[in-house]
């Protein structure tokens, strides 16, 4: 993985020193909250309902064991013994004291981590496919480009005060696991007919109160032009994006109001001026960055096939875990392992310090020291020999992280919601727990098959509800929580925004309503292998409306 050079190290250390001084002056009352607020936000420090919150960047979701152990240490030493992995592949601590945060940042810097640009109207953490560099279906590892974008965008003087925040996602596979079409810029790394690497470029996707699917403005951008083209897009956005209305300030609104054709013309015009400048990526620089992401030396381990089959026959729970949480690796003797942070009835994305330490140990001993955070709020061990899967599983059982539900109905994304978040209008986690308990029976879950439920506690959509196969949005109505259900959303290569099914449900009703939707699907699917999303796309809203609202739906 990427290692800081001297410049990176000095830069992060200087920022820690700067923020430590700012926090000290704030605590002494030498600067006001109005002065301090933008400074703390630039360093990932929010104020939530119960305490401050620190959001730590996990660049493109990649962690080493050493870094994971530091997160565990911080959870134990400065927080309440757990951390929350987010839908942007980051980690949040919910309880740090402001007076401790300088020490936390100093500790993070020792393992090459920071919280810079995890807030504010700047280019945020660049996210990537969590199976990057390992997946069988990948053309090339997208992370070197994510790292190039990270270096380019860190305190970029021109792009530190954009009209609004800006999120970039990169994938290197046809099957999009990074939800690139709901990002401000989505990059799909691919090869052209000549075998050269480049990107399909999508612009103007996003969720929030105005969900939009990104428009493809380039089918193939040569690798060398990545920064010139990205700069051109950002420059157009910085110049033309709205600053008069926070709710209309994202690039998706600019793309929508300008029209794709005209916006593309603006971008291409800027690009024409930038393409042969210092922004052109020298091939040797790309190679240098790529070297950091060189895959581990994977020795052939063909004995794994037989051992695995025998272990699966002997242990049904292990067998279920292999069915659900193991994904093909480009090396046939290896696999990518999803560690579900969605234990039945538990808080999506939370891990204790002890679990983080144990995952770090497993990764170090059995998975080439590499861990990923997925935007679906799980952890991933990208390189595990099939021969070692049972050993990994047994160690996950010991820390209660063996839930066999990746991609199933209980693998729910949920934002922190009103249990923590100052912006939320309703709780999300409690709804996720309710649904998880209702549908958590392993046999029933597997019978239901792939079904992604995503829950947000406010219209900002951190829980990605718009692209949930079943989406749930919590709102406040007359002082009570009310949950609106959408169906048919999807965040993959065939992205769609979910359709609102009808009037909302109370906190007491929502779990039952989701069960009704699931049962309706089971009753109407054409075959056992027709997924919820396929079935929905075939039949539309009507049967679900009927099941949820009965005669009320007919009258409407």
């Amino acid at each position: 993985m990427y290692r800081y050079d001297e410049f990176d190290r000095d830069f992060v250390n200087a920022r820690v020193a700067e923020f430590s001084d700012q926090a000290r002056r704030r605590l002494r009352g030498e600067i006001s909250e109005d002065q301090f607020r933008p400074l703390r936000l630039m360093n990932g420090v929010y104020l939530q309902l119960h305490a401050y919150m620190l959001r730590i960047a996990v660049p493109y979701g990649t962690l080493s064991s050493r870094q994971m152990r530091m997160l565990a240490y911080i959870a134990r030493t400065y927080d309440k013994g757990y951390g929350h992995f987010t839908t942007r592949q980051n980690l949040q601590f919910n309880w740090p004291a402001l007076s401790d945060i300088p020490a936390v940042l100093a500790d993070l810097a020792t393992v090459e981590m920071h919280a810079i640009q995890t807030s504010g109207n700047c280019i945020r953490n660049v996210t990537a496919d969590h199976f990057a560099g390992a997946a069988a279906d990948e053309v090339a590892d997208p992370r070197p480009y994510a790292e190039i974008l990270r270096q380019w965008s860190s305190v970029h003087p021109e792009f530190s005060y954009l009209p609004r925040k800006f999120k970039i996602a990169v994938t290197g596979a046809e099957h999009d696991r990074a939800a690139i079409q709901v990002h401000d810029i989505g990059l799909h790394l691919k090869k052209n007919a000549a075998g050269e690497l480049g990107f399909a470029v999508y612009v103007g996707g996003g969720q929030g109160r105005t969900p939009m699917i990104a428009k493809k403005i380039r089918d193939f951008l040569p690798e060398r032009d990545l920064l010139a083209y990205t700069t051109a897009i950002l420059r157009v956005y910085n110049l033309h994006g709205r600053r008069d209305n926070k709710y209309k300030a994202r690039i998706k609104i600019l793309v929508h109001e300008t029209g794709t054709e005209e916006l593309t013309a603006w971008v291409e015009k800027e690009f024409a001026e930038l393409r042969d400048t210092e922004l052109a990526l020298p091939a040797e620089d790309v190679k240098k960055i790529e070297a950091y992401f060189a895959p581990p030396a994977l020795a052939d381990r063909p004995e794994g096939w037989g051992a695995l089959a025998a272990a699966q026959r002997a242990d049904e729970a292990f067998s279920a875990w292999v069915r659900r949480n193991v994904t093909p690796h480009r090396h046939p003797d290896y696999a990518c392992v999803t560690i579900s942070l969605k234990g039945i009835g538990e808080v999506p994305g939370d891990a204790t310090d002890a679990q983080m330490d144990a995952v770090a140990d497993i990764a170090e001993e059995l998975a080439f020291d590499e861990i990923r955070v997925s935007h679906e709020q799980n952890l991933v061990l990208p390189h595990v020999a099939r021969a070692d899967l049972k050993a990994v599983y047994d160690r996950l059982v010991a820390i209660r992280l063996e839930t066999a539900n990746a991609g199933l109905v209980t693998d729910i994304i949920a934002c922190p919601g009103l249990d923590y978040c100052a912006l939320a209008n309703a709780r999300s986690i409690s709804v996720a727990q309710d649904i998880s308990i209702r549908l958590g029976d392993q046999k029933r879950q597997e019978e239901i098959g792939e079904l992604k439920i995503k829950i947000s506690g406010c219209i900002n959509a951190c829980g990605h509800h718009h692209v949930g196969h079943i989406g749930i949005l919590g709102v406040e109505k007359k002082g009570d929580e009310l949950y609106q259900v959408t169906l048919g959303g999807s965040g993959d290569e065939v992205t769609s925004i979910g359709d609102i099914v009808g009037r909302g449900f109370t906190a007491a009703e929502i779990g039952g309503a989701i069960e009704t939707v699931v049962d309706t699907y089971l009753g109407l699917r054409a075959a056992k292998d027709e997924t919820f999303l396929q079935a929905y796309r075939r039949v539309g809203l009507a049967p679900f409306k009927e099941a949820l609202y009965g005669s009320e739906a007919k009258a409407a």
Binding site: L47, H50, A97, L98, D419, D480
Partner: protein, 108 residues
């Protein structure tokens, strides 16, 4: 007849650690909602607001707000769920926050 005044209390988060606090009847920032000074009319609410502004200016607290409450058998109960959760802690983690502390548990 004038509309019925909705009772209010003053809340904020402590600067140093972000802890949710309320202005208490014994004129200090308290970690529990119980014992808060209650404004029964607009003048009392304005007085609370002034206390909040002064505390904010003195860098003791941040995010100062007057919140609506009611009295249920003498116990102060916020009207909004948001404020109920602030006063207790995350509903999904009863082992954390004020609800996990003996004093708050007794008051609840």
């Amino acid at each position: 007849m004038a509309a019925k005044f909705i009772l209010q209390v003053l809340t904020a988060n402590r600067l140093g650690d972000g802890e949710a606090v309320w202005w208490s009847a014994d004129r200090r920032w308290s970690e529990t909602l119980a014992g808060s000074e209650i404004a029964h009319d607009a003048d009392a609410a304005a007085a609370l607001e002034a206390i909040g502004k002064a505390a904010h200016a003195a860098n003791l607290v941040v995010d100062v707000n007057l919140i609506d409450v009611e009295l249920a058998d003498g116990v102060i109960v916020p009207l909004r769920l948001r404020e109920k959760i602030r006063a207790a802690g995350p509903t999904i983690r009863p082992d954390l926050g004020k609800q996990a502390r003996p004093a708050a548990a007794r008051a609840a």
